[in-house]
């Protein structure tokens, strides 16, 4: 039997009660992970020892040896919280008061580490909302609004799961009811999973509209997240310091991206240039053709060249009456409605087809 449940380091009393109650029903814990606990059916009598240990490695080694020498077997250790079991009738006992100051130090360190990570995520969000040149066109898209909402919710979920229990603990409040912890865990795990999946799907659809900066950000985001996830998976049972290092690095990478983006040569422009050098025939992006009915030259530059960038082509054609027609071919996304709203009176969309067909 596998159970998904996340206990904070200071909730070891609730964890012990949870394990004892499972043992009463005949389920013995065989694996203790950060979010996953594995149980096996057994008739054995088991006593659990659960404690939160926030001291140095040397002290921990000594303590582990002491515990094991006295006949206790370690089931697992995650984030400083350890679970032992013993088949005899002895009790483990711990002294909470003595470890309080060590625990508080650990919690503060953890909060600081998470703050660096969150700051990186927050800066990306702030950039996308406030400083992105394509914010306006992004915002009018429902896809983008959903993305921002997801991102914001994910951020809030992260704050709730990471900081609120810690702050409550520092204020002297600790949850002892494991049913509440179990519900909280499920909401957190699946809530975050759902948001990530949602963002992924939206990203997939949004990419089809080719927004370079968005593509870049989401790519960086997912590459970092996936890399982090894969690395953490393989080293999950050891090297806690490496995980911390990766965690902090991710925050630093996000912040670096933020700084680079605000510099003279934004990354999305680089990407844009790279894309413009590609063969257009290979694209399957839907395009629209706009016709200037009034026969007057309308400068697209007057709208905002930066919004259109280099993704337009001007086609000129003389009609039978000798008038010069101007055709502007732009990508057929929601951008069009926004841009041509200003020149709607003189420009009409006369055709919509794939770029490939034009060629």
């Amino acid at each position: 039997m596998k159970k998904l449940i996340m206990f904070n380091i200071f909730e070891h009393e609730a964890l012990k009660k949870y394990l004892d109650d499972q043992a009463k029903e005949g389920w013995i814990c065989t694996y203790f992970g950060k979010t996953l606990l594995k149980f096996e059916k057994s008739d054995q009598l088991v006593h659990y020892g659960v404690d939160a240990f926030g001291k140095s490695k040397e002290e921990k080694d000594y303590y582990d040896d002491l515990v094991e020498s006295l006949g206790w077997q370690k089931i697992g250790e995650k984030n400083g919280m350890r679970v032992f079991k013993n088949n005899s009738n002895e009790e483990f006992f711990t002294d909470d008061e003595q470890d309080q100051k060590h625990l508080k130090k650990m919690i503060l360190r953890k909060m600081l580490k998470n703050m660096i990570f969150n700051l990186g995520l927050l800066l990306i969000l702030i950039y996308m909302i406030l400083f992105s040149r394509t914010f306006t066109r992004d915002f009018i898209s429902n896809n983008m609004i959903t993305f921002y909402i997801d991102y914001f919710l994910l951020f809030i979920a992260h704050i709730i799961t990471r900081y609120i229990p810690d702050i409550r603990y520092l204020m002297g409040k600790v949850e002892t009811n494991y049913h509440k912890i179990e519900i909280r865990s499920w909401i957190c795990i699946f809530g975050i999973f759902a948001l990530l999946l949602n963002m992924l799907l939206i990203n997939y659809f949004a990419v089809s509209y080719v927004q370079n900066d968005f593509l870049l950000f989401t790519s960086i985001y997912w590459i970092c997240i996936l890399t982090l996830g894969i690395i953490c998976y393989f080293i999950r049972n050891s090297f806690n310091k490496i995980i911390d290092f990766i965690f902090i690095s991710f925050g630093v990478i996000c912040m670096s991206c933020f700084i680079v983006i605000l510099s003279d040569k934004p990354l999305y422009r680089l990407l844009d240039e790279i894309q413009n050098n590609k063969d257009f025939i290979s694209t399957d992006i839907p395009l629209s053709i706009y016709e200037n009915k009034s026969n007057s030259k309308v400068k697209m530059n007057s709208i905002d060249e930066s919004l259109i960038m280099k993704k337009q082509e001007v086609l000129e054609e003389w009609n039978d009456e000798g008038f010069l027609y101007h055709y502007y071919v732009v990508k057929n996304d929601y951008l069009n409605d926004y841009i041509f709203d200003k020149v709607k009176k003189s420009w009409n969309m006369i055709e919509m087809k794939k770029r490939m067909m034009l060629n």
């Binding site: 020498s69 002895e90 006992f93 711990t94 002294d95």
Partner: protein, 102 residues
């Protein structure tokens, strides 16, 4: 363990200090107390570790040997004095009780 753990010794603390009249490591302390009290007093590893750390912080005991992951402890003169005071306190309590009953 009570908050005022070093104002009055608990039964387990009392026996740990007795056990440390000689050099002993954690396992030896527990075994010694088991035999001495005929399994009446059992000390869990969490409790023992907390006690030894607290005693060491208060300089009632000192680490005499650190071999690998094992440590041996011995009571200090301060610890001995503390234990003697505690025994005197217990004797007084017994004496007071006996006077009252008789």
């Amino acid at each position: 363990m009570p908050k005022n753990q070093l104002e009055t010794l608990t039964e387990q603390m009392f026996y740990v200090l007795i056990a440390l009249q000689n050099d002993r490591n954690g396992v030896e302390i527990v075994e010694y107390i088991k035999v001495l009290t005929n399994h009446r007093i059992l000390i869990g590893p969490g409790t023992l570790y907390a006690m030894l750390s607290k005693f060491e912080d208060e300089k009632l005991i000192r680490c005499t040997k650190n071999e690998g992951r094992k440590r041996w402890y011995l009571i200090t003169s301060k610890g001995q004095e503390y234990l003697t005071q505690e025994i005197a306190r217990l004797k007084t309590m017994i004496h007071d009780y006996e006077c009252e009953v008789e």
